[in-house]
């Protein structure tokens, strides 16, 4: 982390604050933006039968399989300013990714996608279709059935997908630094700041502090999700041996 002052032990230094807030923004935007896509993919994989399904499944898993640097490199080739997609997006809606926090968010989103899709798909596959049928006979159209029956019943998987995706996006490093670069205040998220610190000897304390921040961020998300899950499970008591 450039310009780290050190010594300030009681609380966070301004640089640490900056990194933390940026990480929050990047992960938050990434997960929020990719959530509908992840759910749609999970839905297709869980419910539809079509030729090339295994292929789609494979493509979704790609960012998990490929080393992150390769993913970052592919992003660069696709969304770079000179690349067709990147050029098109920047010309039409003024959205640029290269060296911008949006690029970090894009990288985080891509890396989180496979985890989110899998967890959501797993839950969607266990939703009892007979309950959806019951809702239809009660007068609910497909969309209402989806929002009132399917979606709530798939909540555990959606929550798990969110937690996994968030954790993964908070930890994302390779694709981000390759695609969005390591610009303090713009794309330097927690892992990138940690990487910078790790390059030099004697920065163990600094690394530990930043790693601690990552952990804190994720533990909060986890605790929140556990709490929500517990609240959700209330009243659904079951036989207990």
């Amino acid at each position: 982390m450039s310009g780290y002052t050190g010594g300030y032990m009681g609380w966070l230094s301004p640089e640490e604050w900056q990194v933390l807030l940026l990480s929050l923004k990047v992960s938050g935007v990434a997960i929020t933006a990719v959530l509908p896509l992840a759910f749609a993919l999970a839905w297709m994989l869980a419910r539809w039968r079509f030729p090339g399904k295994v292929l789609l499944d494979a493509v979704v898993h790609l960012p998990l399989v490929l080393p992150p640097v390769v993913t970052g490199w592919l992003l660069l080739l696709t969304f770079g300013t000179n690349a067709p997609v990147g050029h098109f997006l920047s010309e039409t809606i003024g959205l640029t990714f290269l060296f911008r926090w949006t690029g970090a968010a894009l990288a985080a989103a891509v890396m989180a996608l496979p985890l989110m899709v899998r967890a959501m798909r797993l839950s969607l596959e266990t939703v009892d279709r007979r309950l959806e049928n019951a809702a239809r006979t009660l007068g609910a159209g497909p969309w209402r059935t989806f929002f009132t029956i399917t979606l709530p019943l798939a909540t555990p998987g959606i929550m798990a997908g969110l937690v996994l995706g968030l954790a993964r996006s908070v930890g994302e490093f390779g694709a981000t630094i390759t695609f969005a670069s390591n610009i303090p205040g713009e794309t330097q998220t927690l892992p990138l700041a940690i990487y910078s610190a790790l390059q030099l000897p004697g920065t163990e304390l600094q690394v530990a502090r930043l790693a601690g921040l990552s952990v804190l961020l994720s533990v909060s998300a986890l605790a929140l999700s556990e709490w929500l899950a517990r609240r959700n499970a209330q009243g659904k008591d079951r036989h207990v041996l």
């Binding site: 982390m1 450039s2 640097v69 490199w73 660069l76 080739l77 770079g80 300013t81 000179n82 290269l98 060296f99 390779g174 630094i177 390759t178 670069s181 390591n182 610009i183 990487y195 910078s196 610190a197 790790l198 390059q199 030099l200 000897p201 004697g202």
Partner: protein, 234 residues
């Protein structure tokens, strides 16, 4: 036992081509070809601190070597700085940019709204040298928000060759190896601390071949291999 075992060499990732060539040359002389693990100097140094069973370390910077030395992890009197490198300003091959490297050069203006690709100046050696040079030339402050710090020199190079950045600062050896970029300026040797690559035998090494290879590396025959890849030698 029959054939002597191949020594294990830990080498900075930027030495990949040249060190492999050196190992091949050494093997041609009838020795077992050293096994080489390429990674960033910091990762390799940490592995040595953790007790890695390796024989030789070639670092891209002196600071990690200093650290290992002070922790008594090097065999005494085996550390030699044997390679030198230069720092250059590069642009994509097709670029028409003309920008002589000198004090107060208008680099920021030349960049316009684009960014300068550079290895991460807060830790990666090539970035640290670049920062020293730009500071010495008096333009560091004007470039602060125009940097695109990359993971390492090769990533910096990729940013330029892919056109993501119109200009970049890398080692001379890297620029020479990549035909898709061209050098448009050389930073004076005086603008940064000398770029040197130290080699040393590790204290934990038990392989008798290792010292031979180290001597080969710093011999004139060995250095010749590295000169082929653009390194300077001491």
């Amino acid at each position: 036992a029959g054939k002597p075992q191949a020594p294990l060499v830990l080498a900075a990732a930027s030495l990949q081509e040249s060190m492999n060539a050196a190992a091949d040359a050494w093997a041609k002389k009838g020795h077992p070809r050293p096994r080489i693990s390429f990674a960033s100097s910091s990762a390799l140094a940490r592995q040595i601190e953790a007790g890695a069973p390796a024989d030789l370390f070639v670092s891209a910077n002196e600071r990690w070597m200093d650290k290992l030395q002070s922790d008594h992890l090097l065999k005494p009197r085996t550390r030699v700085s044997f390679l030198r490198n230069t720092l250059v300003l590069i642009a994509p091959r097709g670029s028409k940019m003309k920008l002589p490297v000198r004090a107060n050069m208008p680099l920021a203006k030349a960049l316009g709204s684009n960014r300068l690709a550079i290895a991460d100046p807060s830790g990666v050696p090539a970035g640290i040298y670049a920062k020293q040079a730009l500071t010495k030339l008096g333009i560091w402050n004007s470039l602060r928000d125009k940097l695109a710090p990359a993971e390492n020199v090769r990533a910096t190079l990729a940013l330029v060759s892919r056109g993501a950045a119109p200009l970049g600062i890398v080692y001379g050896t890297d620029a020479q190896a990549d035909p898709s970029v061209k050098v448009i300026g050389l930073f004076p040797q005086t603008s940064h601390t000398p770029i040197s690559y130290p080699v040393a035998l590790l204290a934990a090494s038990k392989n008798p071949e290792a010292e031979g290879f180290r001597r080969f590396l710093i011999s004139s025959q060995g250095k010749a291999v590295f000169r082929r890849f653009g390194f300077g030698t001491k």
